[in-house]
C-alpha cells in the first residue's frame, strides 16, 4: 500500500487533494478528529508531515511524505457579538472570517501580512501581526485559547473562550508563534472588538527621519492610533517614505485624535485617504510581504527603531520595509542569502533583538531556521517542548535551522 492508499483508507477519498507542485501528496482532513487520526498514523508509520494552510504564505516546499493542509477546517462554530468572542477552525480564510464577523458587527483587530485568504491557523501559528499591533497588541493578545493536535496525534485544549483565564499552564502561548513545531492548531477561540464606527487613514510622505520625528510627536501628544506605520517608498509605491496613521473607534474618539493629528504634525500636512484608498493602501502593504522570496520580522525597543532600520538598509537594502516604531517591530521582505541572514541574526542578537524568519524557500528556511541565536538555556527548553509535542519528530518545521 502506498501512503496515498493508506490515507484514503483512513480519511476517505474526499480528503486527498491534487498533489503539491513538488508531488508531495496533499491531504485535507475534514475535522479536528481527522487531523488527530492522520497525525497518529503518520507518527506510527514514520511519515514526515509538512503543515499547510491555504498555500498563500509559506512556500509549499518542505521535504515531506505528505502535506497536511487545514483548508477543509473552515467552519466558524461560534460568533458571539455580545461577548465579543468567536470560535473558528484553523483553515478558515481571514477574508471570510472578517466578512462574517462584520455582518455581526464584530471585528478581529489584526491585519497580518499576506494575501486576504491567508488562513487563521497560519496567522496564529506564525504570530504574524501587522500595523494594527500598534493599537491592539501582538497576535497572542487576540487568542483566548486553541485546540491543537500533537505530532503523534493527541488532541489538546488550552486556554478557553472567556476574557480571563489562568486555569493551568497557558499552552496557547507556545502554539501562537510556534510555527507548527509543537503541533497543528485546529481550532481557535478569538477575542473580538466591535466594528469601529469610525475608521480613517491619513498618510504623510517625507524623509524617514522627519517622519520618525512626527511619529514620536504623535505619541507624545497622547493620540491613540490603531496603527502608526512607517513604510518604505517601494512598498508604499510612493516617491518617499510614508507615515500612515489609522484612527479607529468611536466617532468621538476618532474626531478628537484627528484634531490632535494636525497639531502633532506641525500644520496638518497629513492627507486623508478615502475609504477605498485606505483599504487598498493597507491591502497592498500586507500583500507586499507575500510576493518576494524572503520575509522576516525583528523586534527591538522603540528607541532603537531608527538604528535598526539603518542596519537593515546597510546589510540588506531597504526597499521593502514596514515598521511600527512605537511597538519596536520591523518587517522586511526581499531576497537575501543564507549567509547574510545568519550574519544579520547574529548581529541583531548582539543588540538583544530577535530575528524571526517568517517565509523563505526551503533551502534558506531549512538552513537559517525560523528561530535562532537563542539566549543561554533557551535551546534545551525549546528542544524539550519539541520532544513533548512531536515525539517522533515527524512535523517538518525549520525550527532552528541547521
Amino acid at each position: 500500500m502506498t501512503i496515498l492508499d493508506k490515507v484514503t483508507a483512513l480519511l476517505g477519498e474526499g480528503a486527498v487533494l491534487e498533489a503539491a507542485p513538488d508531488r508531495v501528496p496533499r491531504v485535507a482532513p475534514g475535522s479536528p478528529d481527522a487531523v488527530a487520526l492522520l497525525l497518529g498514523t503518520a507518527h506510527q508509520e514514520g511519515w514526515r508531515v509538512r503543515i499547510e494552510g491555504a498555500g498563500t504564505w509559506l512556500q509549499s516546499d518542505a521535504p515531506a511524505d505528505i502535506a497536511l493542509t487545514t483548508r477543509r477546517l473552515d467552519r466558524i462554530p461560534a460568533i458571539e457579538p455580545s461577548d465579543l468572542t468567536a470560535t473558528a477552525e484553523a483553515g478558515i480564510g481571514l477574508d471570510q472570517l472578517r466578512q462574517q464577523l462584520a455582518d455581526r458587527g464584530a471585528w478581529l483587530a489584526i491585519d497580518p501580512p499576506g494575501l486576504a485568504g491567508r488562513t487563521l491557523g497560519s496567522v496564529v501559528s506564525t504570530a504574524s501581526a501587522g500595523p494594527l499591533r500598534h493599537g491592539y497588541g501582538p497576535i497572542k493578545d487576540h487568542v483566548l485559547g486553541v485546540t491543537f493536535v500533537t505530532g503523534d496525534g493527541r488532541m489538546v485544549q488550552s486556554g478557553g473562550r472567556v476574557m480571563k483565564n489562568v486555569a493551568g499552564y497557558d499552552l496557547t502561548r507556545v502554539q501562537a508563534g510556534g510555527f507548527g513545531a509543537f503541533g497543528v492548531i485546529v481550532l481557535v477561540h478569538l477575542r473580538l472588538r466591535t466594528l469601529p464606527r469610525a475608521d480613517v487613514t491619513y498618510v504623510l510622505e517625507g524623509a524617514r527621519e522627519d517622519l520618525t520625528q512626527v511619529g514620536e510627536d504623535i505619541a507624545a501628544a497622547g493620540l491613540t492610533p490603531a496603527a502608526l506605520e512607517l513604510v518604505s517608498p517601494a512598498l508604499a509605491r510612493r516617491e518617499r517614505w510614508v507615515l500612515a496613521v489609522r484612527l479607529a473607534g468611536s466617532p468621538a474618539l476618532v474626531a478628537a485624535d484627528e484634531a490632535g493629528l494636525g497639531a502633532a504634525s506641525g500644520g496638518g500636512r497629513f492627507t486623508p485617504l478615502r475609504a477605498e484608498e485606505a483599504h487598498a493602501f493597507w491591502m497592498r502593504l500586507a500583500e507586499g510581504f507575500a510576493v518576494r522570496p524572503v520575509t522576516f520580522r525583528i523586534g527591538g525597543v522603540p528607541t532603537a527603531s531608527d538604528e535598526l532600520l539603518d542596519l537593515l538598509q546597510h546589510q540588506l537594502g531597504d526597499e521593502w520595509i514596514s515598521a511600527s516604531p512605537a511597538a519596536g517591530a520591523i518587517r522586511w521582505t526581499g531576497d537575501a542569502s543564507i549567509d547574510r541572514l545568519q550574519r544579520l541574526r547574529r548581529t541583531l542578537a548582539g543588540h538583544e533583538v530577535p530575528l524571526t524568519l517568517e517565509r523563505a524557500p526551503w533551502p534558506v528556511r531549512g538552513a537559517v531556521g525560523h528561530f535562532g541565536a537563542y539566549r543561554e538555556g533557551v535551546g534545551p527548553l525549546v528542544a524539550g517542548l519539541r520532544r513533548t509535542f512531536d515525539p517522533g519528530g515527524g512535523l517538518v518545521v525549520a525550527t532552528e535551522g541547521t
Partner: protein
C-alpha cells in the same frame, strides 16, 4: 532562615483562610546571588521548594508542606531600571506592585495590572499567577505586560526568556512562564511594559435595584464597543460589609447592586463623550442614580471601597470561600440569578464583588468552618456554583490561579490528554517536579505522556 515553629506558622496560609500548611523551613534570601545559591543547594540535596512572594495569593499556591522548603522572595525588592523612553522597567521579583506604580508615576507612566492586593503583593507573585485587577479590562492582565524574564530553574540554572522589545527568541516562553504558578521556576528579573498615565479619568457610581439589571447594564456597555478602564460590580451584601467597615465609600446601602465604571484616556473630549454614552446606557438599563466622582479624593474613596471589599468581608464571618470563575459576559445576568438561587437553597450568604466587564466573578461565601454541617453545605454550594459557570462556557479561575484550592475543578474543564500535556510541559522545566509540588495539575487525572 526561619526555623522556630512560631515563626514558620506565620507562613502557613496565603490570602485564603481555608488552607493551612506549616512549612518545615522558611528561607528568605537577601540577594539574587543568595537565592541562586539556595536553589542550587536544594537541587543538590533533591529537596522540593515553594517560591513565595508576599503571600497574598488566593489559591493556596504559596503553601509548603511534605518537606518542601518555603523560599520567600520579598527581600529581592529592587527596581533595577526604569526606561522612560521605551516605557519599560526591570525589577526583582519581590518588588511590591504599588511601589513599581509609584516609581513609574513621576515619568508619566503606570504599571497597569492592579490586583486588589497591590499595596502588598509582589510583581514576582503577579507573574506566577498572571494576576489581573479591575483595570485589566482595558489594559490587559499581567501576561500582556511582561516582555522578558530571567528565570531560575529547579536545577539552579539561569535562563533568559524574551527580549527587551517583547519579541520572543523562538516560541513565546515568557507567555508560557507567566501564570505557571511557580511550577516552572523562579523569575529572578522581570522586564515589564509600562503604559502612559491617562490624562483624563472619569469615575461613575451607578446603583441598581436588581442584580439582573446591573448585569444587563454591563452587557450593554460591552456591546456598545466602549472599553471602560474598569467595570466592577458589588452586590448588597458586599456593599453593606464595606459600608460597615473603615473602608466605607458612601455606597448606597439600599441598592441591590452597584457598578463602578471608570473611563480613561489621553484625550479629555473623547473621555467626556464616552462617559456621556456610558451614563446613558446605565440609565437605560435601569440605574436608579449615576454619580460621577467630582474630585480625585472622591474617586480614591470609591475605589478604596472596592479594593478593600475582600478585607471588609472578614466582618461577616470567620471563614470565607472565594471563587474566581469567569463566564461569557452575556451570561452574567443569568449566572448571577442562579448563584443567588443556589445560595438560598443552601441557606448561605453569598457576597458578590467582581470584575463584571471581564465576566470574572468572585462569589464569596462567608461561614463558620467550625460547624461541620455548614462547612459541608458551603462545599456543595461552591461546587454547584462552579458547575453553573462551566456550563455557561466559562472557566474555573480568571486571576487567582489553581494552586491547591481549585485542583479538584481542573478535570471539569480539561480532559486527561490536556492535563497530561500540561504536566509534560512542566517536566521540560522541572523534570523532577520539585518546584511547588502538588499544585495546578491534579496528577491522578493525567494521561501519561512520554517524558520529555
Amino acid at each position: 532562615m526561619r526555623e522556630a515553629r512560631a515563626e514558620r506558622v506565620t507562613y502557613a496560609m496565603d490570602g485564603l483562610p481555608t488552607h493551612r500548611r506549616v512549612p518545615d523551613l522558611v528561607v528568605l534570601p537577601g540577594s539574587r546571588e543568595e537565592l541562586i545559591a539556595v536553589v542550587r543547594l536544594l537541587a543538590a540535596l533533591g529537596v522540593p521548594f515553594v517560591p513565595r512572594g508576599a503571600g497574598t495569593g488566593l489559591s493556596g499556591g504559596a503553601l509548603a508542606d511534605e518537606g518542601a522548603v518555603l523560599v520567600v522572595l520579598t527581600r529581592l525588592n529592587r527596581i533595577l531600571q526604569i526606561d522612560k523612553e521605551n516605557r519599560r522597567a526591570v525589577v526583582e521579583p519581590g518588588v511590591v506592585n504599588a511601589k513599581l506604580g509609584a516609581a513609574a508615576k513621576p515619568h508619566g507612566l503606570q504599571y497597569a495590572p492592579d490586583p486588589s492586593s497591590q499595596t502588598a503583593c509582589t510583581v514576582g507573585g503577579n507573574v506566577a499567577e498572571n494576576a489581573g485587577g479591575p483595570h485589566c479590562l482595558k489594559y490587559g492582565v499581567t501576561a500582556n505586560h511582561i516582555l522578558a524574564l530571567e528565570i531560575l530553574l529547579a536545577d539552579g540554572s539561569l535562563v533568559e526568556l524574551g527580549s527587551p522589545g517583547g519579541e520572543p527568541w523562538g516560541p513565546d516562553l515568557v507567555g508560557l512562564f507567566v501564570g505557571s504558578e511557580g511550577n516552572f521556576g523562579i523569575a529572578t528579573k522581570i522586564t515589564v511594559r509600562l503604559t502612559p498615565l491617562p490624562r483624563a479619568i472619569r469615575t461613575l457610581l451607578a446603583d441598581f435595584t436588581s442584580i439582573r439589571a446591573a448585569g444587563e447594564a454591563v452587557s450593554a456597555i460591552i456591546a456598545s464597543g466602549i472599553v471602560p478602564a474598569a467595570l466592577e460590580m458589588m452586590d448588597q451584601s458586599c456593599i453593606c460589609a464595606v459600608e460597615d467597615s473603615v473602608y466605607a465609600a458612601g455606597y448606597p446601602r439600599d441598592a441591590a447592586a452597584i457598578l463602578l465604571v471608570e473611563i480613561d484616556g489621553r484625550n479629555a473630549e473623547g473621555v467626556a463623550a464616552e462617559t456621556d454614552a456610558v451614563t446613558e446606557l446605565l440609565r437605560k438599563s435601569g440605574a436608579r442614580a449615576v454619580r460621577s466622582a467630582a474630585t480625585e479624593a472622591e474617586r480614591e474613596r470609591l475605589w478604596q471601597g472596592r479594593k478593600k471589599a475582600f478585607g471588609a468581608m472578614g466582618r461577616l464571618s470567620r471563614d470565607l470561600v472565594v471563587q474566581d470563575a469567569v463566564v461569557p459576559r452575556s451570561s452574567l445576568p443569568r449566572v448571577l440569578d442562579t448563584i443567588s438561587t443556589i445560595a438560598q437553597n443552601y441557606g448561605l450568604v453569598v457576597s458578590n464583588v467582581f470584575h463584571a466587564g471581564d465576566g470574572n466573578l468572585h462569589p464569596n461565601i462567608s461561614f463558620d468552618a467550625t460547624d461541620p454541617a455548614l462547612k459541608q453545605r458551603v462545599e456543595a454550594a461552591s461546587a454547584e456554583i462552579m458547575q453553573v459557570c462551566i456550563d455557561a462556557g466559562g472557566t474555573i479561575t480568571g486571576e487567582h490561579g489553581v494552586g491547591i484550592d481549585k485542583l479538584r475543578y481542573m478535570p471539569l474543564i480539561f480532559d486527561a490528554e490536556s492535563l497530561g500535556a500540561m504536566q509534560a510541559v512542566r517536566r521540560v522545566f522541572d523534570p523532577n517536579e520539585r518546584v511547588n509540588p502538588g499544585k495546578v495539575v491534579p496528577v491522578h487525572a493525567c494521561r501519561e505522556w512520554r517524558a520529555a
